[in-house]
C-alpha cells in the first residue's frame, strides 16, 4: 500500500480496495459504563458469506447494529461499499456524516432481526411493498410484482394477504427476509434469525437463507446454528468479550479450534442442544 494514494482515495471518500464491501476499524462501543465493543476490526468481502459466532453478550448484535447505524460507534471508522459513514477523527472519536446520507448509504444493507419486526398493521405483501414505494419511489405495480416474486422465493405466495399475527414464527421470518430483499440490498445482515423460533421451524428459515447464498449477496450472519454456519460460510468470526478472537475458515474455527475459548464455547453449545 502506498500511503499518498491512500490518502487521496480517502479524501474522495472512496476506498481503493473494492473487494471489501464492509470495512470497520477499531470499533468501540459502550452502553453507559458497559464497554461492549473493545476495538473490533471487521471486514466483509463482496459476495462473501460470513458467520459471527460467540457467547451471548459478546457484542455480536452490537457489531451488526453499528454497521447499519442502529447504534452509533464511540470510536473507530465504518465504511460501506467504499464510503465512510463514520470516520475516526484526530482524537479517535467516531465522526458521522449526516443522518440523511447515512440512511442512503445504509440502504445497501438489509437486516433480518431475531424477532422479525414485521409491521403488524400491514399484510404480508404490504410489508414487502412499503419501503420500495415510500423510500425507493417504485411504482405500486412494480413493487407488487417484485413482492410476488420474492414471496415465491420464500415459499409464501399463498400468504400474501395474511397479517403477520396470523403467521407462524418461521413464516414471519421468511416474510422478514423477503421484506429486506425487496430493497435490493447488496449486503444482508442476519441477527440470530432462528433464535426465536420453535425447533421445528428453524429448518425452513435456514433453507431460505441457504438459497440466498447461491445468489452471492454478501451475507453477515450471527447465529448459534453451528452446523448451518459451517455449511454455508466462507469465513467464520468468533467473538468473545467485545473482541473478535478468531477469524478463519469454518474448519479452522469449528472443527479444529486452536483457541481454548472457542473450545469452551463449542462444548457449551453442544451441551445445550
Amino acid at each position: 500500500m502506498c500511503a499518498p494514494r491512500d490518502r487521496v482515495e480517502e479524501l474522495n471518500g472512496i476506498e481503493a480496495n473494492q473487494t471489501e464491501i464492509v470495512k470497520a476499524t477499531n470499533l468501540h462501543k459502550s452502553f453507559g459504563r458497559l464497554h461492549v465493543l473493545k476495538g473490533v476490526d471487521f471486514y466483509a468481502n463482496r459476495g462473501e458469506i460470513l458467520s459471527v459466532v460467540g457467547p451471548s453478550g459478546s457484542g455480536k448484535s452490537t457489531l451488526l447494529r453499528l454497521l447499519n447505524h442502529l447504534e452509533t460507534a464511540d470510536r473507530g471508522s465504518i465504511r460501506i461499499d467504499g464510503r465512510y459513514i463514520a470516520k475516526e477523527n484526530a482524537d479517535g472519536r467516531s465522526e458521522y456524516i449526516s443522518g440523511k446520507k447515512v440512511l442512503k448509504i445504509c440502504s445497501k444493507l438489509g437486516m433480518v432481526f431475531q424477532n422479525f419486526n414485521l409491521f403488524p398493521h400491514k399484510s404480508v405483501i404490504e410489508n414487502l411493498m412499503e419501503a420500495p414505494m415510500t423510500v425507493a419511489g417504485v411504482s405500486k405495480d412494480a413493487a407488487a410484482e417484485k413482492a410476488e416474486s420474492l414471496l415465491e422465493k420464500v415459499g409464501l405466495t399463498d400468504k400474501r394477504n395474511a397479517y403477520p399475527g396470523q403467521l407462524s414464527g418461521g413464516q414471519q421470518q421468511r416474510v422478514a427476509i423477503a421484506r429486506a430483499l425487496a430493497m435490493d440490498p447488496e449486503i444482508m445482515l442476519f441477527d440470530e434469525p432462528t433464535s426465536a423460533l420453535d425447533p421445528e421451524l428453524i429448518g425452513e428459515v435456514l433453507g431460505v437463507i441457504k438459497n440466498l447464498a447461491a445468489e452471492r449477496i454478501t451475507m453477515i450472519i450471527v447465529t448459534h446454528e453451528m452446523n448451518f454456519a459451517r455449511g454455508i460460510s466462507d469465513r467464520i468470526l468468533f467473538m468473545d468479550g467485545g473482541l473478535i478472537l478468531a477469524d478463519g475458515t469454518p474448519d479452522d474455527i469449528l472443527v479444529n479450534p486452536s483457541h481454548p475459548r472457542i473450545r469452551d464455547f463449542l462444548r457449551k453449545i453442544i451441551r445445550e442442544q
Partner: protein, 218 residues
C-alpha cells in the same frame, strides 16, 4: 302536552350548543394533541419542558376553574381588553383542556410501539418522519381508540360545566325550566338527551375499534 313539547324543544336548542362545543373541541384538540405528543417525544428539551408544564396545569386543575379563568379572569387581568362571549370562552378552554389529555394519551400510544418497529423501518431506509407517519401512528391509533372513546364521553358530560358561564347548553336550559316551573321533568329530559349522545359516541367508537380489529399488536 304542548308544554312538554315546548320545554323539550328548548332543551333541544341547548343540545345544539352542546354538540357544537363537542365537535369544535374534538376538531381542534385532536390535532393539537398529536402535535404536542410528538413535541413531548421529540429531542428539544425546552419544548418538552414547556409541554410538560402545559399538560400538568390543564390536567391538574379543575376544568371549571379554567372556564372561570378564561371567561372572567382574562377580562380582569387585561382590564377588559380580552373579553370572550361565553361560547368562545368555552371553545378555547375545552380545546386546551382536552388537547392536554389527548397529548398524554397519544404520547402513551406512540410510546407503546416497540423499538423493533423503528429499527425495522430504519433498516429499510425509512426516515423518522416517514416511520412515524406510515408505521408508528397507524398502530398507535389502534391503541389509543379505547381511551379516546372514554374522553369523548367525558367531553359530552363536561360540556354541562359551561352552564355556569351562561352558555345556553342543555343543562343551562333545563335548569332554567326547572327553576321557573318547579318541574324536575326538565332534568329528566336533559338526562335522556345526554344518554342519547353518549350512546351515539359509544357506537361510533365501537365501530372504529372494529375497523382496527383486523390485526393484533404483539
Amino acid at each position: 302536552m304542548d308544554y312538554w313539547l315546548d320545554i323539550t324543544a328548548y332543551i333541544g336548542l341547548g343540545a345544539g350548543v352542546t354538540l357544537k362545543i363537542f365537535f369544535v373541541t374534538l376538531l381542534f384538540s385532536v390535532p393539537l394533541g398529536v402535535v404536542c405528543a410528538l413535541g413531548k417525544l421529540g429531542k428539544f428539551r425546552i419544548l418538552r419542558g414547556a409541554l410538560g408544564v402545559y399538560t400538568w396545569v390543564f390536567r391538574g386543575t379543575p376544568l371549571l376553574l379554567q372556564l372561570f379563568f378564561t371567561y372572567y379572569g382574562l377580562g380582569i387581568l387585561s382590564d377588559g381588553r380580552i373579553a370572550f362571549d361565553p361560547e368562545t370562552a368555552a371553545y378555547i378552554t375545552f380545546v386546551f383542556n382536552y388537547a392536554a389529555y389527548f397529548t398524554e394519551i397519544f404520547r402513551g400510544g406512540i410510546q407503546s410501539i416497540g423499538k423493533g418497529q423503528y429499527e425495522a423501518a430504519k433498516a429499510l431506509g425509512m426516515n423518522p418522519g416517514l416511520t412515524m407517519k406510515r408505521i408508528i401512528l397507524p398502530q398507535a391509533i389502534k391503541i389509543i381508540l379505547p381511551p379516546m372513546g372514554n374522553e369523548a364521553i367525558n367531553l359530552i358530560k363536561d360540556t354541562a360545566l359551561c352552564s355556569v358561564i351562561t352558555v345556553t347548553e342543555i343543562l343551562r336550559n333545563a335548569n332554567r325550566v326547572m327553576s321557573r316551573d318547579f318541574n324536575v321533568g326538565a332534568l329528566v329530559i336533559a338526562a335522556l338527551v345526554y344518554l342519547l349522545m353518549t350512546f351515539a359516541v359509544i357506537q361510533v367508537f365501537r365501530k372504529l375499534e372494529k375497523r382496527y380489529a383486523y390485526y393484533t399488536i404483539r
